[in-house]
Every structure is written in C-alpha cells, then in structure tokens.
C-alpha cells in the first residue's frame, strides 16, 4: 500500500512540474503591441516589438518630441476608410509610465498611466513626417505583418 502511495505522490509531483513548466512557456510576450489601423471590418495587422533597444529608441523618440499645441482635434486618427494610423500599446516594463500612443503622419497622441504636472494623461506631440510612423511601418513589413500592397496604400501610392 505504501508503495502505491509513494508512486502516486511521485507521479503527482511530476505532473505538477510539467504543468508549471507549460504555464511558464505560455507567459504573455512583453513588449510593444503594434496595430496598423487600416481595415474597417476584418482584424487589423498586428505585431510585437520585443527588442529592448528598439523599445528604448521609440521611448526616447517620444520624449524628444515637442507638444503640438496647435492641434485642436479630439484625436490624431481620422475616421476615414483606409489608413488611420498606428496604435502602439505598452505591454513591457521598460517604459513604466507609458500606456499607449497613436501615430498618424507626424502627429502622436500619447497616453500616460499617471497624469502629468498639468493633470492630463493625454498629450498631442509633433514628430517629423518621416519619423516614427515610417519606422513602425518598415518594422511591420520586416516582421511580415503587412505586404507591399498595404505599404503602398498607407503612403497613398
């Protein structure tokens, strides 16, 4: 009887270990989740940026952008059929105050987790026309999330 109990205990420990290992490998990927806002009905193309250097480069780029005080709209993303911008959601620990940002052409709509000194969590920043948006689109193409046809559509070719 004791042998049976010992065997069952060993098997149970083994199964628990396998389950814990499996759960460990299913951890959510940390990084920036990027969604190209281009489709109306079908799901939009998405990809992950997990390279720490690239994440830091993007965060640094955001910090260097001045506020666009001339922007009066509610959002930088236009409600039109076709390309509407790029949504980047922060699922990493590397930029702790960054919740998400939305890029369309040279404008960036930044959402922070904590409010700034003026009490706002959302800011409109002004980058360069060929800056962050183009870099994210090239990264999407490199990762196979979008093809040349969609790139041409984004750049209105």
């Amino acid at each position: 009887m004791k042998h049976y109990i010992a065997i069952i205990a060993i098997i149970s420990i083994f199964i628990a270990g396998v389950i814990m290992e499996a759960q460990g490998t299913n951890k959510p990927v940390k990084g920036f989740k990027v969604t190209i806002l281009i489709y109306s009905g079908r799901p939009n193309p998405t990809f992950m940026i997990t390279d720490e250097n690239l994440i830091k480069k993007i965060e640094s780029s955001l910090k260097s952008m001045p506020k666009n005080s001339a922007f009066k709209g509610e959002t930088v993303s236009p409600s039109i059929l076709g390309y509407n911008g790029i949504l980047v959601e922060n699922l990493s620990d590397l930029a702790p105050n960054l919740e998400s940002f939305l890029v369309f052409q040279s404008n960036v709509e930044l959402k922070n987790k904590k409010p700034s000194e003026t009490g706002v969590t959302k800011e409109i920043l002004e980058g360069t026309a060929s800056g962050l948006q183009e870099m994210l689109i090239r990264e999407a193409q490199t990762q196979g999330a979008i093809d040349q046809k969609l790139v041409d559509c984004i750049f209105q070719k």
């Binding site: 109306s40 939009n44 509610e74 409600s79 039109i80 559509c153």
Partner: protein, 174 residues
C-alpha cells in the same frame, strides 16, 4: 407550494411574452468613441448592427458560416447566417428594423453603414471613431454615392434588429 408554482409561472410568462423589440437607433457616436476598449474592439459590423461585442465581430462567425473570401457573395452569406435579411434601397424597413449597407474593398476588406433614426447614414471605420461623414468630409445621405475610398464595390442593403440604446442591438453577431 403555491409560491413555487407562482414563481415558475412568472418566469415562464416573462420568457415567452416579451419578444425582442427592434427599433431604429439615433446617431449618438459618443458611446463608441471612448478612445479605449469600446472604440478599438468594435468595428463597422458591430456599429451597423448597433451591438457591442468587443470582438471586432465578423459576418458569419456567430451564425457558423464566416466568409472565406472578401467579396460581396461571401460576406453577404455570412451576414445572412447571422440572421440579417437582404432588402432594397427603396424598401421601407418593417417593424422597427434598421437598414444597413455593405461595401467591399475588392479582395481586401468589407465595410458596413447604418441608417440612423434621422434618416442619414453613419459608420465606424474599424477601430476609429464613429462618424456621419464620408472620406470627403460630407454628411452621408446615400452610401451608394458617398466617398468610400478603396471600398469601391457596393453590395447591397440588409435589415437588422437594432435598439434605441447604443451598443444594445439584437442581431446574432460575434
């Protein structure tokens, strides 16, 4: 005993005597334009059917016949599987049903418009804000002639069972 029988009768009567009421929604985009969960997870199909699912609903997914190509026939068949009924431009919707319209970006995507209680049309391009303007910033009075960008093929009109409250439509979509 009498109490239990009464409870059962109340449950039965409530279940069978309150059929779904369809009604035409107003144009009230603020519900959809929250810049967060509702806006980014509900697409044109959700908006046209006025039903929030937070799943970027796809024609035919709930009805078991999701499209496998992006053309009028496939997306139409998906919508019909979800319980939508085809109609015409001139037909008056029966019993509070709402008229919606399907267009196609050939082999690439589909899009839906809905006719609101003010008689004009509105739409929600994917994860962006709901609007009553077309790609040329004109109010949409006719989805067939509106500026639709690359969504050049007009497929036709359908009827859905909507609700006067935003996001509470009764269509079987997911």
């Amino acid at each position: 005993m009498i109490f239990v029988v009464g409870m059962v009768l109340t449950w039965y009567s409530c279940d069978s005597c309150n059929p779904t009421t369809c009604s035409n929604p107003p144009y009230a985009p603020a519900y959809w334009n929250d810049g967060g969960v509702i806006q980014y997870n509900n697409n044109c199909y959700n908006y046209a059917n006025n039903k929030r699912t937070d799943t970027f609903a796809q024609p035919g997914r709930a009805g078991g016949n999701m499209y496998n190509a992006l053309n009028c026939m496939q997306v139409t068949n998906g919508a019909i599987a979800d319980g939508l009924v085809q109609t015409t431009a001139g037909a008056t919707p029966p019993s509070g049903k709402t008229k919606i319209a399907l267009v196609i970006w050939p082999d690439t995507d589909y899009h839906w418009y809905r006719k609101d209680s003010d008689g004009k049309w509105s739409h929600k391009p994917g994860g962006t804000q709901a609007t009553n303007l077309d790609n040329s910033s004109n109010i949409i009075t006719n989805p067939e002639t509106a500026d639709r960008g690359r969504y050049t093929i007009f497929c036709g009109y359908f009827l859905t069972c909507s609700d006067v409250n935003q996001g509470q439509g009764h269509a079987n979509i997911n």
